[in-house]
Symmetry: C2
Subunit: 351 residues, 2 copies
Amino acid sequence: MNMELSGRRKPSPEKLHQAIAGDTADNASLGIGLNAAIVAVLDNEPVALAVRGEPDAIGATDALPFGPFNPREHRTLEGGLRSWVQSQTGLELGYAEQLYTFADSGRLTESSSATPNVVSIGYLALTVATAHHSLTNGVWRSWYQYFPWEDWRRGRPEIIAREIEPRLRAWAERPAPVTTPQRPLARADRARICFGLDGTAWDEEKVLERFELLYEAGLVDESLRDGRSAAQVWTERPKLGLPMHSDHRRILATAISRTRAKIKYRPVVFELMPDEFTLYELQKTVEAILGPHLHKQNFRRLVEGAGLVEPTGEVKTRTGGRPAKLFRFRREVLLERPAPGVRVSAPPSRT
Amino acid sequence: MNMELSGRRKPSPEKLHQAIAGDTADNASLGIGLNAAIVAVLDNEPVALAVRGEPDAIGATDALPFGPFNPREHRTLEGGLRSWVQSQTGLELGYAEQLYTFADSGRLTESSSATPNVVSIGYLALTVATAHHSLTNGVWRSWYQYFPWEDWRRGRPEIIAREIEPRLRAWAERPAPVTTPQRPLARADRARICFGLDGTAWDEEKVLERFELLYEAGLVDESLRDGRSAAQVWTERPKLGLPMHSDHRRILATAISRTRAKIKYRPVVFELMPDEFTLYELQKTVEAILGPHLHKQNFRRLVEGAGLVEPTGEVKTRTGGRPAKLFRFRREVLLERPAPGVRVSAPPSRT
DNA sequence: CGTTATTATGCTCTTTGCGAGCATTTCTTG
DNA sequence: CAAGAAATGCTCGCAAAGAGCATAATAACG
């Protein structure tokens, strides 16, 4: 059954829904799931590629492209991932790196006629969204639909003060279960550090820590699905951000964390850019990922001084003012410097 | 069979050898291997914990503590790892973090009566070696027995100029196989960047890249085992560093890379230190990990200024000179700073 | 007991990188 | 042609980091 998903042919929507619902019992489905968080920047908005399936127990419809790893068919993990993404979305991945392997305990508790995944291996892929008119399936969704509290483009998002902070404080008041005594930090401290409460600085890289805190506190829908809400009855549903299938939102959180960290010390922004671009477009892309706290002139000095780009000699008019020089990525820096990157400073602790 | 290895009882040496030989077909052995690179610093020497088994096809006897992940028995991946380490070595792990998941293709080709591992999940653990008189099995082995080219404590190791460089240059001369055309860099460039040839700076974090390059070039014993030597006949065996069981040397290389990188931006050195220590001992530990290129006074200023340590009020005599103040780690920094660490500068490009 | 070697520790000087702002150029728009 | 907008060039100042000098406190040894 489901042979179509094992091959490279295009899956019908129904088959895809079955896959998302967990019914992927293949011959050699060993319970190792491959999941791709595919990131791009569209109109200065950071987006991820989501495929849609039938609503699950908590109403989640979005999933990351994914499928089981089949060692008979795939020589490498990354190869298997690329083939799944290709068959499910039509996209040929460029840059990809492994993120993390999660024990997928949530799915073990589900009623499953098929082999459940034991572990999920998450991958981060970066791509230029505009170049893919070949997308056969899936939609580009803003990061911030899944993680509204991460959107600091217009200052501190209201959802933190209005929804998250009071509910986290209530959670911190309740005693922690004794089953986790080795937890090094108190609940209140974790909440303060993750979400920058009480004047603590916001760290844009702590995306995963924040999501896991909300999950543990029962404030995201996924907590309900995984049975964590048994001891925590809420009159209203958590509903902080759009939920995803399985543990995919956790994987996407990991992808955002990694992207935000790595863009600072490796030249990965250029995977998100077309071949030619202006420095301002480059800056806007970085700011879409990290938040808008860059000084224009200094950014130019940094990028040019590091030898990351070279002018093409052409200019781009119609920018509303003086035409901007076009640049391209100097791939040779990879041969010169050990670890070049777009080093941007920490934001000036905006609370 | 092999129930002893599944439980927490101490395994007999014979059982351990069977485990290392791959005969671990348990009821639910899903082919997911857990592997622990346990790192410590003993007498200013960076070491990893190795368990010994029967020599395999290439004569490798050392292995990292490892075992299959059994979702029935282990709630989490890390929990499974801790239980395997405990049963095989008697060690109770402290700090541990996941490194990477490798597709363990090498083992698939072996003649296997048991379920082969499909993937290996590598973990890094940091510990204080002196505190473990409870070690029931395993030996602390210097990193540099496995990776002699990484030992820059007395300047550039001779093995690079004498063994590695000429053989890599010979390898770079030969044409790359057409099966990997998407390889972005030429062989010669990869060799130059990895091993700092032709005046390129040495990057101490590229431990994994260097090992994988040697593996691909057929210069480490593991290449022979995995059948890569078919097209590459060497009159003498590669013998660059001590080989390890399965892909364990690759996992150890990943662990060293991660340790060297992380020690610079997170306060993980203190996992390698006893409760109280002098600043010079701390510096020597950092230098054991990174290489000896620290300025004593500046190191003190850095560590004290960052609030990473606090004086205990006592001093340690018998240091051969003026007594040194004792310090302890200030755990509170984790609550204050977003990302404290022992920020050391790049070595002054010693070639 | 005094001298020397050794280590710890405090302090200063210089260089570099980066945050921030001013000024100038070159386009579009009306 | 004037005004506005965006790109680009340049400078100032602070803070962190690299490097070295100076001093303090012990052990070893005559």
